[in-house]
Symmetry: C2
Subunit: 200 residues, 2 copies
Amino acid sequence: MIKRKTGILFVISAPSGAGKSTLCKRLLSEVSGIEFSVSFTTRAPRSGEVHGRDYFFITREEFMAMVNRGDFLEYAEVHGNLYGTSKSFVEEKLRKGMDLILDIDVQGAKQVFSKMKECVGIFIFPPSIEELRKRLIKRGTDPEDVIEKRLKAARWEIAQSHMYHYWILNDDLEEAYQQLKGVVLAERAKRERMELTWNI
Amino acid sequence: MIKRKTGILFVISAPSGAGKSTLCKRLLSEVSGIEFSVSFTTRAPRSGEVHGRDYFFITREEFMAMVNRGDFLEYAEVHGNLYGTSKSFVEEKLRKGMDLILDIDVQGAKQVFSKMKECVGIFIFPPSIEELRKRLIKRGTDPEDVIEKRLKAARWEIAQSHMYHYWILNDDLEEAYQQLKGVVLAERAKRERMELTWNI
């Protein structure tokens, strides 16, 4: 009687340590019809990485040809390697009715928002900067100056959060997860994403 | 770090037999911070009904005075009794941060939508008119001609469903419930309903 027209692109960002990866992994394991978007990159595959599942591994020439064709929703250079999200890859998935998660930083999200008006932005907040500091110290992977750099970045990222459609506070992990799942299910139920298919 | 500004008014409608009551009751028992809106009525209280919990029981004179003051978001006369939703009751609850469910027919919803721009409309669909017919026959409370009248009303109500923000198909009860809960949690997480309260 009613059915969805296409898949939805969810763009999810958060300061480092806010718990985004945990939340996204659980979402993908519990909710069907949603996948991670697969990025294109010029870096070499690491052991165990599969072309087309983890990344599409391409040469710098191929990457630049895609840039010139305007195929990237967003791209960036990180430590000398190029990473990008292909518009045609995303659109093909959405056309088939698959929802996608784009786990991406604030800079990349800005590019995507300007090119895909119908995408859904979700920003995940840590409970506080103080709590974020504690989490990063507890994680034990970063020296103190790197932690301070991450906190400075977090403040800047939070100041950009107005670009996103939804704000989720990851204070209680279970509550934050229920909200994230709720956003996905609610967006699927939006009238403008559906059509009436009478079968009386 | 972030907090919601006010409560949200959810306006929920469905054709008779679509399962709205079951879904709403479960929602209220499992999700905190949301209540049924309490209507005003001129009919006499039935045994066990409590003033202020089930209804606000008032006289026809009091009701008409509220109508004249423009206090009703919607009102209607049913079998000689007046029923209405008070705007000041709703606004006071929302101001305190409570979310409200208004379980109401399509005619009433139309009045509410025109007066409360920030409310959220949810329409619940039965799987099909044929399935609705089966459910109404199985329920065994209505004679055949009443069932046909309800089905005719259902077709008309479904044709009005474009007024609502969300469409939920109640084909599988568990899935429909997860979607309804999802809409409530997602609406709470919408950026425009939140404010940043820095505590760095």
